[in-house]
Symmetry: C2
């Protein structure tokens, strides 16, 4: 097992966390490269549009990873699709299960983008403070329409299952991602989630069971797991949590 090199912003959980949780759960050897000064500089040079890239197809933005001899891979869902079988987190590894897990992961990516845009509805390049009015308006629809739509979709899938996992009979990487999504949403919107959680009992049970997995439990207690903060993807602003 060649060590996997993960590149992601060093001070936030962000999109990198979905990759990190899968690697930690599998106890797969990996290095969080950008948590050192040199690694961070390297990451910045790889994504710098004005620098000459050593790669034919450079990643557009973090997270990206180096796996075996593959070129750098970007996009959370793509990375997890490729990593999944290597980590034993892609169900029975059939084309069908791999496709379905990936498909659900893409919906997780979609929610994550909507969560991001709720505190940045106008531009990523502006501060939250410069788009607070629009953020409040957008977040209203996020918590009242979008989160219920997505979360009840996942809940309905669990309702058809015997094993309380989204695809197949065992925990896959998308279950780990759902765990992190629910943690992030609870952090960002505690009041709204208290309402929503009333009708997603199976997802909450899945969240609890993932938190109890020994490798995840050890990871969450370690200093490798960063605390949520207001530079992160999931942000708590009391004025947005109604």
């Amino acid at each position: 097992m060649a060590t996997i090199q993960l590149y992601y912003w060093p001070t936030i959980t962000g999109r990198g966390e979905f990759i990190r949780l899968a690697l930690e759960d599998a106890k797969y050897p990996y290095k969080d490269e950008a948590r050192t000064k040199e690694g961070l500089d390297e990451m910045l040079s790889v994504i710098n549009p004005t620098a000459e890239s050593p790669f034919d197809i450079p990643p557009l933005s973090p997270p990206f990873v180096f796996i075996d001899d593959l070129p750098p891979l970007a996009h959370v869902a793509k990375i997890l699709f490729v990593l999944g079988p290597r980590l034993g987190l892609a169900g029975n590894n059939s084309e069908t299960e791999r496709a379905l897990i990936n498909q659900l992961q893409l919906s997780v990516s979609d929610i994550v983008s909507e969560v991001h845009d709720s505190h940045h509805p106008i531009a990523t390049s502006l501060y939250y403070e410069d788009q607070k009015v629009e953020a409040a308006r957008r977040t209203h629809y996020l918590v009242n329409e979008r989160l219920p739509k997505y979360l009840s979709y996942f809940e309905r899938i669990l309702a058809k299952k015997t094993a309380n996992v989204l695809v197949g009979d065992t925990v896959t990487y998308v279950d780990l991602s759902i765990f992190h999504l629910l943690c992030g949403l609870k952090y960002a919107y505690p009041k709204a989630m208290a309402r929503i959680e009333a009708y997603i009992p199976r997802l909450l049970e899945l969240k609890r069971s993932v938190a109890e997995r020994p490798n995840i439990k050890a990871y969450l207690a370690s200093e490798r797991r960063l605390a949520f903060n207001e530079n992160d993807l999931f942000r708590h602003y009391s004025e947005l949590d109604l």
Copy 2:
């Protein structure tokens, strides 16, 4: 070759067009199911959250497709990843090329979502007219920051190539998607694109070469190709094109 069943909103090009272009280019037998009343009703029942779904993992939203014996597949990038080799549009079909094509397609999906949110920055459930002020503000950043970022990224990739295609030596589905993206952007933001096009000569050449492919040319001249309109993903509002 079993006929592929495609389900997508019948009156817009939208996200379905990325799938349609690949199928048309390959002359693969497919049926645009939701263009009949029965098919549309069927699509609506499949994505209806309150209806009992016949699928363990139903699609969350269109487009979705039925390919061979696979369960319904959703998400443009996922559908194209699975269809690509069947259509001869996935380069040399190696794990590496398939991963890279898919990765670039995911960036296309990201731009497409940003384009959508530029006319709907607050909520998909509201009319454009109810979020015009925010749309104008967001679109400013879209055309001045986001489109240049994404399009110059693709341009830089072409700059390293001998063949003017994004991955490998032959046209793949992501090249077809880039064609549609550039058509849509030109329709929506003719003034802004006139500025941007000055520094994406290779992408424009790729767009021209895709338009000349015989099956694409025939498709574009057919009535199967819908005209852009203001219910679509790419919308032209003169007040947003500055």
